[in-house]
Symmetry: C2
Subunit: 252 residues, 2 copies
């Protein structure tokens, strides 16, 4: 069976000419802009390679009272995040981390068949929490398999939202199959030893102290540190701890 989706992606995104620059970034930016235009979405394109985000704020941004600029030096849109209800933000992080690790196990072309669809609650211009639909797509992978470009879309949900809780699903857009979030899968992101190391890092311990505590070499501690950063998809220990907190990774 021909992979129609991939072909269309290729035909659409790779063969267009662009006025500003001929790069995958410009092509992904066009997709984000289009969602902001057609759906009034707040569309955040995050370049994981450059650790940079591009924000296209459609009408929803105005309704939400968002003032978050158009380009930031991070893949974390703190301006947006600060308006998300804290427990929803935690759940969102957990979902996205699970999604990321699921995609890493898939060949590049199958990744485009999955996205995250969730309902979370954000403070609007009147400072009231209202339900917002959040969708996340990875729209470009690097040749080496790294997940490269992430697109987050924030809209008002098209239906009345019944529940006041965070609601998130990984959806296969090709088959309609809905995958439930799996707590166990989140726990399995780090090994038990890696969790122990991260708990020590949290207390402010040095690599040397951690090595002594577990009777392993400093070299091994540093290898664990590297693995933790890689698995949590962050650049430094502070960010790793923030993520681990958000998804309750160290609690069990």
């Amino acid at each position: 069976m021909v992979n129609i989706n991939q072909n269309i992606l290729n035909d659409t995104l790779l063969t267009q000419s662009f006025s500003q620059q001929d790069s995958p970034l410009a092509q992904c930016q066009l997709v984000a802009k289009m969602y902001a235009g057609i759906e009034n979405a707040v569309a955040v394109l995050s370049d994981l390679k450059a650790n940079r985000s591009y924000i296209y704020s459609g009408g929803v941004g105005t309704a939400m009272g968002l003032d978050i600029g158009t380009e930031i030096d991070s893949i974390w849109e703190e301006g947006l995040f600060s308006r998300i209800r804290p427990d929803d933000l935690e759940a969102k992080h957990a979902m996205e981390l699970q999604f990321f690790h699921m995609l890493k196990d898939l060949p590049n072309h199958e990744r485009y068949d999955y996205y995250v669809n969730s309902i979370l609650h954000m403070r609007n211009a009147q400072d009231e929490y209202v339900p917002v639909q959040h969708r996340m797509f990875y729209i470009r992978s690097a040749d080496n398999g790294s997940v490269w470009m992430a697109l987050c879309l924030y809209n008002f949900p098209p239906q009345q939202v019944e529940s006041d809780n965070y609601f998130g699903r990984i959806v296969n857009s090709r088959t309609g199959k809905i995958m439930l979030p799996d707590r166990q899968q989140v726990n399995d992101i780090l090994s038990e030893r890696e969790k122990e190391v991260l708990r020590m890092i949290k207390t402010g311990s040095s690599s040397k102290e951690i090595a002594a505590r577990f009777s392993i070499s400093v070299y091994t501690v540093n290898r664990h540190r590297q693995n933790i950063l890689q698995k949590l998809h962050v650049n430094n220990s502070m960010a790793a701890l923030r993520i681990a907190d958000a998804i309750h990774l160290l609690e069990n």
Copy 2:
């Protein structure tokens, strides 16, 4: 307040360069292709001026066993329609007609803030009815106010669908306001006299016969005929009758 949505639409859709042709059609086709690529959607772009549709079939098309070509000489995608559960198809027509008339009363730039979001049921490749999310956007209007380019998107719904009934809403994407469908609004699409004329057309009466029946001139009958076609957004009486049937316009 700056109309961000319109600006983004303009910036995005009007200022890009295109490899094939520089026309609004190519720009709208790009939007449709992108939905097929990013969301695996079956995306149908209908050019109301040319009475022509362009179909971009993402992975959902394969899953649904759709074989509907890529370009048809009609804004009615019969290949798709034949797979929609008949009562859902009727409800869909009614909703879209209501949407069309609502938009006609709005200035061009406000039209981009509304779309139809609905759940209908379609036969899949295994000939079973499954819930499908249908979204409809008008993405381009003509300078004279005519609604020009319609985009219909068919996806699997991201959530479990509880009800077996058609579910449709007109949504303001900028504010999140959900407008319920309104039976009265559908009834008001044609005047009582126009309905009477259409009922006569349905029985096969000529304009002369209709004129005699209502003691009006043939000229007036033909004016009513023109208004009916225009209001129902069709080119001939057969199509008008099909629509009227679908939305139960002649029943009360």
